[in-house]
Symmetry: C2
Subunit: 175 residues, 2 copies
Protein backbone atom coordinates (compact mmCIF):
# COMPACT_ATOMS: atom_id res chain seq x y z
CA UNK A 1 0.00 0.00 0.00
CA UNK A 2 0.99 3.61 -0.51
CA UNK A 3 1.27 5.52 2.75
CA UNK A 4 1.19 9.31 3.05
CA UNK A 5 3.71 10.28 5.73
CA UNK A 6 2.21 13.41 7.28
CA UNK A 7 3.90 15.32 10.06
CA UNK A 8 5.72 18.47 11.14
CA UNK A 9 9.12 16.85 10.53
CA UNK A 10 8.94 18.43 7.06
CA UNK A 11 10.05 21.57 8.93
CA UNK A 12 12.98 19.81 10.62
CA UNK A 13 16.57 20.61 9.70
CA UNK A 14 17.04 16.92 8.88
CA UNK A 15 13.67 16.51 7.19
CA UNK A 16 15.04 14.66 4.20
CA UNK A 17 16.87 12.06 6.32
CA UNK A 18 13.83 11.61 8.59
CA UNK A 19 11.62 11.07 5.54
CA UNK A 20 14.05 8.49 4.17
CA UNK A 21 14.15 6.64 7.50
CA UNK A 22 10.36 6.50 7.62
CA UNK A 23 10.06 5.39 3.99
CA UNK A 24 12.63 2.69 4.68
CA UNK A 25 10.57 1.37 7.62
CA UNK A 26 7.48 1.34 5.38
CA UNK A 27 9.41 -0.79 2.91
CA UNK A 28 10.32 -3.27 5.64
CA UNK A 29 6.60 -3.78 6.18
CA UNK A 30 5.96 -4.17 2.46
CA UNK A 31 4.57 -0.69 1.85
CA UNK A 32 5.63 2.43 0.01
CA UNK A 33 5.95 5.57 2.12
CA UNK A 34 5.52 8.94 0.41
CA UNK A 35 7.00 11.91 2.26
CA UNK A 36 5.55 15.30 1.31
CA UNK A 37 8.75 17.33 1.68
CA UNK A 38 8.23 19.97 -1.02
CA UNK A 39 6.68 17.12 -3.00
CA UNK A 40 9.23 17.60 -5.75
CA UNK A 41 8.16 21.18 -6.42
CA UNK A 42 10.84 23.44 -7.87
CA UNK A 43 10.01 26.90 -6.59
CA UNK A 44 13.01 28.68 -8.06
CA UNK A 45 11.04 30.77 -10.51
CA UNK A 46 7.94 31.21 -8.38
CA UNK A 47 6.84 34.00 -6.08
CA UNK A 48 6.55 32.74 -2.46
CA UNK A 49 2.73 32.59 -2.45
CA UNK A 50 2.62 30.73 -5.77
CA UNK A 51 5.36 28.42 -4.53
CA UNK A 52 3.25 27.60 -1.45
CA UNK A 53 0.22 26.89 -3.61
CA UNK A 54 2.25 24.65 -5.91
CA UNK A 55 3.35 22.60 -2.88
CA UNK A 56 -0.29 22.45 -1.72
CA UNK A 57 -1.38 21.06 -5.08
CA UNK A 58 1.48 18.54 -5.17
CA UNK A 59 0.66 17.38 -1.62
CA UNK A 60 -3.01 16.94 -2.53
CA UNK A 61 -2.02 14.89 -5.59
CA UNK A 62 0.22 12.77 -3.35
CA UNK A 63 -2.65 12.17 -0.91
CA UNK A 64 -4.93 11.21 -3.80
CA UNK A 65 -2.36 8.59 -4.81
CA UNK A 66 -2.14 7.10 -1.30
CA UNK A 67 -4.31 4.46 0.38
CA UNK A 68 -3.26 5.18 3.93
CA UNK A 69 -2.12 8.11 6.05
CA UNK A 70 0.14 7.83 9.08
CA UNK A 71 -0.07 11.22 10.75
CA UNK A 72 2.53 12.44 13.21
CA UNK A 73 0.38 14.49 15.59
CA UNK A 74 3.24 15.28 17.99
CA UNK A 75 2.47 18.72 19.47
CA UNK A 76 3.92 21.50 17.35
CA UNK A 77 4.56 25.07 18.59
CA UNK A 78 2.12 24.58 21.45
CA UNK A 79 0.00 21.82 22.99
CA UNK A 80 -1.65 20.76 19.72
CA UNK A 81 -0.80 18.97 16.47
CA UNK A 82 0.45 20.81 13.39
CA UNK A 83 -2.62 22.13 11.51
CA UNK A 84 -1.20 20.99 8.14
CA UNK A 85 -1.07 17.42 9.44
CA UNK A 86 -4.57 17.76 10.91
CA UNK A 87 -5.84 19.00 7.54
CA UNK A 88 -4.30 15.99 5.81
CA UNK A 89 -5.80 13.57 8.31
CA UNK A 90 -9.23 15.07 7.65
CA UNK A 91 -8.65 14.93 3.91
CA UNK A 92 -7.84 11.22 3.96
CA UNK A 93 -10.60 10.40 6.45
CA UNK A 94 -13.22 12.02 4.22
CA UNK A 95 -12.18 9.63 1.47
CA UNK A 96 -12.62 6.68 3.84
CA UNK A 97 -8.95 5.81 3.53
CA UNK A 98 -7.14 4.06 6.39
CA UNK A 99 -6.09 6.65 8.97
CA UNK A 100 -3.43 6.07 11.61
CA UNK A 101 -1.69 8.51 13.91
CA UNK A 102 1.06 8.66 16.48
CA UNK A 103 2.50 11.22 18.84
CA UNK A 104 6.02 11.34 20.22
CA UNK A 105 4.86 13.42 23.14
CA UNK A 106 3.04 10.91 25.30
CA UNK A 107 0.32 12.03 27.68
CA UNK A 108 -3.14 13.50 27.44
CA UNK A 109 -4.01 16.88 25.96
CA UNK A 110 -5.56 18.17 29.19
CA UNK A 111 -2.28 17.53 31.04
CA UNK A 112 -0.34 19.64 28.52
CA UNK A 113 -2.45 22.79 28.75
CA UNK A 114 -1.74 25.35 31.44
CA UNK A 115 -4.89 26.00 33.45
CA UNK A 116 -6.21 29.48 34.07
CA UNK A 117 -8.10 30.77 37.11
CA UNK A 118 -11.32 29.12 36.08
CA UNK A 119 -11.81 25.36 36.42
CA UNK A 120 -11.43 23.47 33.15
CA UNK A 121 -10.32 26.56 31.19
CA UNK A 122 -6.94 27.76 29.92
CA UNK A 123 -5.36 31.12 30.69
CA UNK A 124 -7.47 32.83 27.99
CA UNK A 125 -10.72 31.31 29.27
CA UNK A 126 -11.08 28.69 26.52
CA UNK A 127 -12.32 25.28 27.63
CA UNK A 128 -9.73 22.52 27.94
CA UNK A 129 -11.13 19.43 26.22
CA UNK A 130 -10.98 16.67 28.82
CA UNK A 131 -12.05 13.50 27.09
CA UNK A 132 -9.02 11.43 28.08
CA UNK A 133 -7.60 11.97 24.59
CA UNK A 134 -4.14 12.88 23.30
CA UNK A 135 -5.41 15.83 21.23
CA UNK A 136 -8.57 17.37 19.77
CA UNK A 137 -11.37 14.80 19.52
CA UNK A 138 -11.58 15.11 15.72
CA UNK A 139 -8.02 13.76 15.43
CA UNK A 140 -8.54 10.96 17.93
CA UNK A 141 -11.94 10.09 16.49
CA UNK A 142 -10.48 9.71 13.00
CA UNK A 143 -8.01 7.03 14.10
CA UNK A 144 -9.98 5.16 16.76
CA UNK A 145 -10.66 2.17 14.52
CA UNK A 146 -6.91 1.92 13.89
CA UNK A 147 -5.97 1.77 17.57
CA UNK A 148 -6.09 5.45 18.50
CA UNK A 149 -3.06 7.70 18.68
CA UNK A 150 -0.01 5.51 19.22
CA UNK A 151 2.54 6.82 21.71
CA UNK A 152 5.95 5.63 22.93
CA UNK A 153 7.19 5.86 26.49
CA UNK A 154 8.40 9.31 27.43
CA UNK A 155 11.43 10.33 25.36
CA UNK A 156 13.95 13.14 25.29
CA UNK A 157 13.53 16.35 23.33
CA UNK A 158 16.39 15.26 21.06
CA UNK A 159 14.52 12.14 20.01
CA UNK A 160 11.24 13.93 19.32
CA UNK A 161 11.63 13.56 15.56
CA UNK A 162 14.07 10.68 15.51
CA UNK A 163 12.26 8.05 17.55
CA UNK A 164 10.20 5.78 15.29
CA UNK A 165 8.72 3.33 17.82
CA UNK A 166 5.25 4.87 17.75
CA UNK A 167 5.45 5.26 13.97
CA UNK A 168 6.34 1.58 13.72
CA UNK A 169 3.40 0.72 16.00
CA UNK A 170 1.20 2.28 13.31
CA UNK A 171 2.81 0.12 10.62
CA UNK A 172 2.19 -2.95 12.80
CA UNK A 173 -1.45 -1.91 13.36
CA UNK A 174 -1.81 -1.69 9.58
CA UNK A 175 -0.88 -5.32 9.06
CA UNK B 1 -26.93 26.18 1.40
CA UNK B 2 -25.96 24.46 4.61
CA UNK B 3 -22.77 25.86 6.10
CA UNK B 4 -20.59 24.07 8.65
CA UNK B 5 -19.35 26.70 11.11
CA UNK B 6 -15.92 25.38 12.17
CA UNK B 7 -13.76 27.17 14.69
CA UNK B 8 -12.25 27.21 18.17
CA UNK B 9 -15.12 29.35 19.50
CA UNK B 10 -16.75 26.06 20.50
CA UNK B 11 -14.32 26.27 23.45
CA UNK B 12 -15.39 29.82 24.35
CA UNK B 13 -17.35 30.57 27.51
CA UNK B 14 -20.01 32.16 25.30
CA UNK B 15 -19.86 29.51 22.60
CA UNK B 16 -23.60 29.09 22.35
CA UNK B 17 -24.24 32.82 21.85
CA UNK B 18 -21.40 33.09 19.32
CA UNK B 19 -22.83 30.14 17.38
CA UNK B 20 -26.26 31.76 17.36
CA UNK B 21 -24.85 35.06 16.13
CA UNK B 22 -23.03 33.30 13.29
CA UNK B 23 -26.07 31.23 12.33
CA UNK B 24 -28.16 34.40 12.32
CA UNK B 25 -25.72 36.06 9.91
CA UNK B 26 -25.91 32.99 7.67
CA UNK B 27 -29.67 33.33 7.62
CA UNK B 28 -29.39 36.98 6.54
CA UNK B 29 -27.49 35.73 3.50
CA UNK B 30 -30.08 33.04 2.79
CA UNK B 31 -28.10 30.11 4.19
CA UNK B 32 -28.36 27.77 7.14
CA UNK B 33 -25.40 27.77 9.52
CA UNK B 34 -24.72 24.62 11.55
CA UNK B 35 -22.59 25.11 14.65
CA UNK B 36 -20.88 21.97 15.93
CA UNK B 37 -21.09 22.77 19.67
CA UNK B 38 -21.49 19.29 21.16
CA UNK B 39 -23.62 18.60 18.07
CA UNK B 40 -26.58 17.76 20.28
CA UNK B 41 -24.74 14.90 21.98
CA UNK B 42 -25.91 14.09 25.50
CA UNK B 43 -22.85 12.76 27.29
CA UNK B 44 -24.43 12.33 30.71
CA UNK B 45 -24.21 8.55 30.74
CA UNK B 46 -20.99 8.25 28.77
CA UNK B 47 -17.39 7.83 29.90
CA UNK B 48 -15.27 10.84 28.78
CA UNK B 49 -13.54 9.01 25.90
CA UNK B 50 -16.84 7.62 24.58
CA UNK B 51 -18.39 11.06 24.95
CA UNK B 52 -15.59 12.54 22.83
CA UNK B 53 -16.07 9.88 20.17
CA UNK B 54 -19.83 10.49 20.12
CA UNK B 55 -19.19 14.19 19.45
CA UNK B 56 -16.71 13.24 16.70
CA UNK B 57 -19.33 11.07 14.98
CA UNK B 58 -22.01 13.76 15.32
CA UNK B 59 -19.64 16.40 13.89
CA UNK B 60 -18.79 14.15 10.95
CA UNK B 61 -22.51 13.59 10.28
CA UNK B 62 -23.02 17.36 10.40
CA UNK B 63 -20.18 17.90 7.89
CA UNK B 64 -21.69 15.27 5.60
CA UNK B 65 -24.97 17.22 5.66
CA UNK B 66 -23.28 20.52 4.75
CA UNK B 67 -22.39 21.95 1.33
CA UNK B 68 -19.95 24.57 2.58
CA UNK B 69 -17.47 25.11 5.40
CA UNK B 70 -16.48 28.48 6.81
CA UNK B 71 -13.46 27.77 8.98
CA UNK B 72 -12.30 30.15 11.68
CA UNK B 73 -8.52 29.65 11.51
CA UNK B 74 -7.74 32.35 14.10
CA UNK B 75 -4.58 31.21 15.91
CA UNK B 76 -5.37 29.03 18.91
CA UNK B 77 -2.97 28.36 21.81
CA UNK B 78 0.00 29.37 19.67
CA UNK B 79 0.71 30.78 16.22
CA UNK B 80 -1.43 28.24 14.32
CA UNK B 81 -5.07 27.36 13.74
CA UNK B 82 -6.95 24.90 15.95
CA UNK B 83 -6.22 21.36 14.66
CA UNK B 84 -9.88 20.34 14.93
CA UNK B 85 -10.81 23.15 12.55
CA UNK B 86 -7.92 22.23 10.24
CA UNK B 87 -9.12 18.61 10.21
CA UNK B 88 -12.63 19.74 9.28
CA UNK B 89 -11.34 21.98 6.49
CA UNK B 90 -9.43 19.00 5.05
CA UNK B 91 -12.49 16.79 5.40
CA UNK B 92 -14.71 19.16 3.44
CA UNK B 93 -12.02 19.91 0.85
CA UNK B 94 -11.57 16.21 0.09
CA UNK B 95 -15.26 16.06 -0.79
CA UNK B 96 -14.83 19.01 -3.17
CA UNK B 97 -17.24 21.10 -1.11
CA UNK B 98 -16.92 24.89 -1.03
CA UNK B 99 -14.23 25.87 1.48
CA UNK B 100 -13.85 29.34 2.97
CA UNK B 101 -11.79 30.55 5.90
CA UNK B 102 -11.15 33.63 7.96
CA UNK B 103 -8.83 34.66 10.76
CA UNK B 104 -9.45 37.32 13.35
CA UNK B 105 -5.73 37.68 13.94
CA UNK B 106 -4.57 39.55 10.85
CA UNK B 107 -1.00 39.24 9.64
CA UNK B 108 1.18 36.57 8.16
CA UNK B 109 2.25 33.36 9.86
CA UNK B 110 5.96 34.14 9.61
CA UNK B 111 5.43 37.41 11.51
CA UNK B 112 3.75 35.56 14.40
CA UNK B 113 6.51 33.04 15.06
CA UNK B 114 9.41 33.93 17.32
CA UNK B 115 12.67 33.37 15.47
CA UNK B 116 15.51 31.33 16.89
CA UNK B 117 19.23 31.82 16.40
CA UNK B 118 19.17 30.33 12.93
CA UNK B 119 17.76 32.28 9.98
CA UNK B 120 14.27 31.17 8.98
CA UNK B 121 13.87 28.81 11.94
CA UNK B 122 11.98 29.01 15.23
CA UNK B 123 13.50 28.59 18.69
CA UNK B 124 13.39 24.78 18.38
CA UNK B 125 15.07 24.79 14.95
CA UNK B 126 11.94 24.08 12.92
CA UNK B 127 11.61 25.97 9.65
CA UNK B 128 9.23 28.92 9.61
CA UNK B 129 7.07 28.62 6.48
CA UNK B 130 7.50 31.91 4.67
CA UNK B 131 5.15 31.83 1.71
CA UNK B 132 3.38 35.10 2.46
CA UNK B 133 0.47 33.14 3.90
CA UNK B 134 -1.65 33.52 7.04
CA UNK B 135 -1.05 29.93 8.19
CA UNK B 136 0.16 26.53 6.99
CA UNK B 137 0.02 26.26 3.19
CA UNK B 138 -2.49 23.38 3.29
CA UNK B 139 -5.05 25.68 4.93
CA UNK B 140 -4.40 28.58 2.60
CA UNK B 141 -4.28 26.31 -0.44
CA UNK B 142 -7.70 24.85 0.38
CA UNK B 143 -9.41 28.24 0.30
CA UNK B 144 -7.51 30.05 -2.45
CA UNK B 145 -10.33 29.71 -4.96
CA UNK B 146 -12.68 31.29 -2.40
CA UNK B 147 -10.53 34.38 -1.89
CA UNK B 148 -7.94 33.08 0.55
CA UNK B 149 -8.10 33.56 4.30
CA UNK B 150 -10.27 36.62 4.98
CA UNK B 151 -9.00 38.94 7.70
CA UNK B 152 -10.33 42.11 9.35
CA UNK B 153 -8.25 45.10 10.37
CA UNK B 154 -6.39 44.56 13.60
CA UNK B 155 -8.79 44.14 16.51
CA UNK B 156 -8.61 43.92 20.28
CA UNK B 157 -8.19 40.68 22.22
CA UNK B 158 -11.74 41.13 23.56
CA UNK B 159 -13.21 41.05 20.07
CA UNK B 160 -11.25 38.01 18.94
CA UNK B 161 -14.32 35.78 19.01
CA UNK B 162 -16.98 38.46 18.77
CA UNK B 163 -15.98 40.33 15.62
CA UNK B 164 -17.78 38.91 12.60
CA UNK B 165 -16.50 41.15 9.82
CA UNK B 166 -14.14 38.57 8.36
CA UNK B 167 -16.75 35.85 8.82
CA UNK B 168 -19.21 38.04 6.93
CA UNK B 169 -16.62 38.58 4.18
CA UNK B 170 -16.74 34.79 3.69
CA UNK B 171 -20.54 34.89 3.39
CA UNK B 172 -20.22 37.66 0.80
CA UNK B 173 -17.58 35.67 -1.13
CA UNK B 174 -20.01 32.77 -1.18
CA UNK B 175 -22.69 34.74 -3.02
Amino acid sequence: MKIYLAGPEVFHREAEAIGKAKASLCQQYGHEGLFPLDAGVDGTDLMPHDHGLAIYRADVAMMEACDVIIANVTPFRGPHADPGTAFELGYMRAQAKTCLAYSNMPGLLAARIVSGDEAGRDATGLAIEDFGMADNLMLEGAVTEAGGIHMPEMLSEDDLYWDFRAFEACLKALD
